[in-house]
Symmetry: C3
């Protein structure tokens, strides 16, 4: 029984939610681990990102989003509209803006990602994927996507891959 | 410390989302595993299915859905309406239909399960349930349901149960 | 490789959803476990509760909810309105009320927490958090919240923390 961890670095585009297809990298990490039976947790420690498994939808929008991803964004636009101006949501409030400015050294506009914080919790920070016969059990058509919901700016992000098994 | 895996086969009805109560089977697999302390991951590799733990609601609709399940379907009908015709969602696009026809050998109408793909990611592909004192910690009233959101056709599905512990 | 488990006891206020910040307690349990690499599952066996990781929003409402939490409640109020009277949702039906009264010995009004059951499944029963270098990988700004969606009454709840690793 062992634990094996690797980090995948990704870079979002901003302007729209970014769906990073990390399937190949995750499969490679499982191979490297040597684990034949166990669990692979694909995890985000960023509070505006999520992990999703879904099929490839093939067709893409002008921004490069697969059609199913765009459909998901359209639904989220109704449920949690993109934050366009302060006061649209309660967050960020005065204390948070002060914290972001003084502690994190960030421009106030970068805190207008309230929609990204809220959308991300609907889809969870991680997916736990079964490892069997030395590979990820993604069925015939499964892919692993790391979603960056933050539209305010292009950002470097880390995808954690933690494997436990034997 | 060990890893133990079993598969539960289920068969949906189509026409409506199907909620398979797999509680008894999962409990039996935990017993068989001999694991006293650990984690039980109940997992779907199907991209239109989810796993949920919830209480039994007792009362049922004509289709056999417990009332809480029907309430959930009613909410999802508002958030992600059932796909009834091509063009209602962006997915499936032309390339995907071509892929489904040529690679998967499927009739185009079977790809009109866009709502099932989208609904399933809201609830996640798996639940990780704590195993303590040799049993699942489901509290007093918890049940494990495998949800098949695909309404387009009756389908055979596999529920993966992966146990890690000692 | 070991399994380590502890329970955190919390007490909700009722009247509104309660967000318990359990970050410090979970970090302390990880320390106690001695696990350096692994996974920490923060889990609810209550079917009206969820676990979420999110940043601290600093500003608070009169009820003590951080602004992001209140924003989330406002969205859920639209998606799954607070249950105020029998008949608003299909659940609880007659059989369930009879079960609650006779088996669980509960007053029928306590079953008017349909919204809490439904909201909780959107956010999942658990979060699986990566443990690396002997600590929780919560990024710079992550906190762990146990959400009690039940507004009908103040309740004692248990948060399970299950750690697997080495």
């Amino acid at each position: 029984m062992k634990v094996y961890r690797k980090i995948i670095d990704v870079q979002s585009e901003g302007l729209h939610p970014t769906f990073h297809d990390v399937t190949k990298q995750v499969k490679k990490i499982v191979d490297e681990s040597g684990v034949k039976d166990g669990i692979c947790v694909v995890y985000s420690h960023h509070t505006t990102c999520s992990v999703m498994t879904q099929e490839c939808s093939h067709d893409k929008t002008y921004f490069g989003l697969e059609y199913l991803q765009q459909d998901l964004c359209n639904i989220m636009e109704k449920l949690v509209p993109t934050c366009r101006v302060e006061g649209q949501y309660k967050h960020p409030g005065k204390e948070h803006i002060e914290f972001a400015r003084t502690v994190a050294g960030e421009d106030p506009f970068t805190s207008l990602n309230t929609d990204a914080h809220l959308r991300s919790v609907f889809f969870g920070r991680s997916e736990s994927i079964v490892i069997m016969d030395g590979g990820l059990d993604l069925g015939e058509f499964g892919f692993v996507y790391f979603i960056d919901w933050d539209q305010v700016r292009a950002r470097k992000r880390q995808v954690q891959v933690q494997i436990i098994g034997e």
